[in-house]
Amino acid sequence: MANWVPLWLHKLGSPPIFYRFAGIVRPWALTLAILAAAVALYGGLVLAPADYQQGDAYRIIFIHVPSAWMSLFIYGAMAVAAFVGLVWRIKIAEIVAMESAPIGAAFTFITLVTGSLWGKPMWGTWWTWDARLTSELVLLFLYIGVIGLYHSFEDRRQGARAASFLVLIGIVNVPIVHFSVNWWYTLHQGSTVRLVGPSRIDASMLWPLLTMMAATKLYYVASLFARVRAELIASEGGKEWVRAIALGEDARS
């Protein structure tokens, strides 16, 4: 292992330590996520004024936009973990990458559903070949491809390594897809229908949005850690530290 990797990161690479660390962080992250989401929803659905053009329908952005951010953020996090796992063969990194995929896929799916729900009253159609929506769809396929590849191997670690490689191919490809779809869209459509941009947005709408973003990030951490813990227990079933937990010596963490 490269010696520039900070010591604490190195230590986190050990499954029992990561298991305990994740066990401590997870309840806090989950509680904070629920609190932040409740505050953000109250702010967004009750306190924020209705949009002068879109009425109340715009309020779906409090779900849609944070999900869209998360779908990309999780892909980025997954790619970093995949890279670390592939280069330094760190088991935890492989597991983090693989357990991120279903969460990212779920956020991508939510983005697509809320996007089309919002599109119906706004554009009068459930689906439009907008560059961002289409890229999001391709991203969903990519997530599903990663999950499918991971599960198609008998050996989990081998599957994780192959799927990690696919993640890295995807990180090169997603921007190209986005660019090409953009090019294609401007070629085929005279006037572009713009998704609501968060750039010029009133502060009363902005803070619930940012709070929701924090909530989704915390939720990701909580959900990821729960999944990684379960996967660690499953894959390290034969090891001493898992036996110790099973026997109740370490029941608290």
Partner: protein, 228 residues
């Protein structure tokens, strides 16, 4: 050319794959037949309206060729995995990316070239304007090697897995979106009498990039897939 040099090894692998394809000539015809059948289904589904067919001809031919290539890509490494030849040439003291480059070239010649040859016929069946035909062929000449290289990496990833067919489609098709967009964009522009150089140039640039990175990625993917 001394035996055992990298050049000789690539030629040996290339010749072997062409020879194997020749010994099983029937298999080469399969993707072509598939493309012919899929293309003939479109007029039955959409009606014989010449204007409509000529409007969609370029896209239909491109997507059909893409799907036909997907069929043949699935078997890129399969027989070599099954009979142990893969290990033999992976262990050879040669540069694996170059060997894979030779293998992908042989695969492109046996699977894509017949499709490119038949593509003008398919396009004419759908009333594609003859004037735009060279652009269609040029787009295919650039897009099919891209698909071979991109597909080669993904097939290599699934070489050690239990199932591959549908999984390969699931992984490859999203990554193909840019290829389809630019190839179809060039064809549509040519059909409308608009300049088509830009998308063709983009395809060419992507191909140049893929020619360098594809074999390297393919070798890395194959090493990962066989590491079990």
């Amino acid at each position: 050319m001394t035996p055992g040099s990298t050049c000789a090894a690539c030629v040996a692998l290339f010749r072997r794959d062409l020879l194997l394809a020749w010994r099983r000539r029937g298999d080469i015809a399969m993707p072509v037949l598939y493309a012919v059948i899929v293309t003939t289904l479109f007029p039955f589904a959409l009606g014989p309206d010449a204007a409509l067919l000529s409007r969609i001809a370029g896209g239909v031919v491109l997507v059909t060729v893409l799907l036909a290539m997907l069929l043949s890509l699935d078997s890129l490494f399969r027989s070599d995995v099954e009979d142990g030849s893969l290990e033999q040439w992976m262990l050879a003291p040669q540069s694996l990316p170059l060997l894979l480059g030779a293998k992908l070239l042989a695969h492109w010649i046996t699977s894509a070239v017949p499709l490119i040859v038949i593509a003008p016929v398919l396009a004419s069946m759908l009333r594609f304007p003859t004037a735009a035909m060279p652009v269609l062929v040029a787009a295919l000449l650039l897009a099919t090697p891209l698909l071979s290289l991109l597909g080669g990496v993904l097939v290599a990833l699934t070489a050690g897995s239990r199932r591959s067919g549908m999984l390969l489609a699931l992984m490859l098709l999203p990554l193909c979106v840019p290829v389809v967009i630019f190839a179809a964009g060039a064809v549509a522009a040519a059909q409308d009498g608009l300049p088509f150089a830009a998308p063709i140039a983009w395809l060419g640039a992507a191909l140049a990039l893929a020619l360098v990175l594809g074999p390297l990625a393919c070798a890395a993917a194959l090493r990962i897939a066989m590491d079990a």
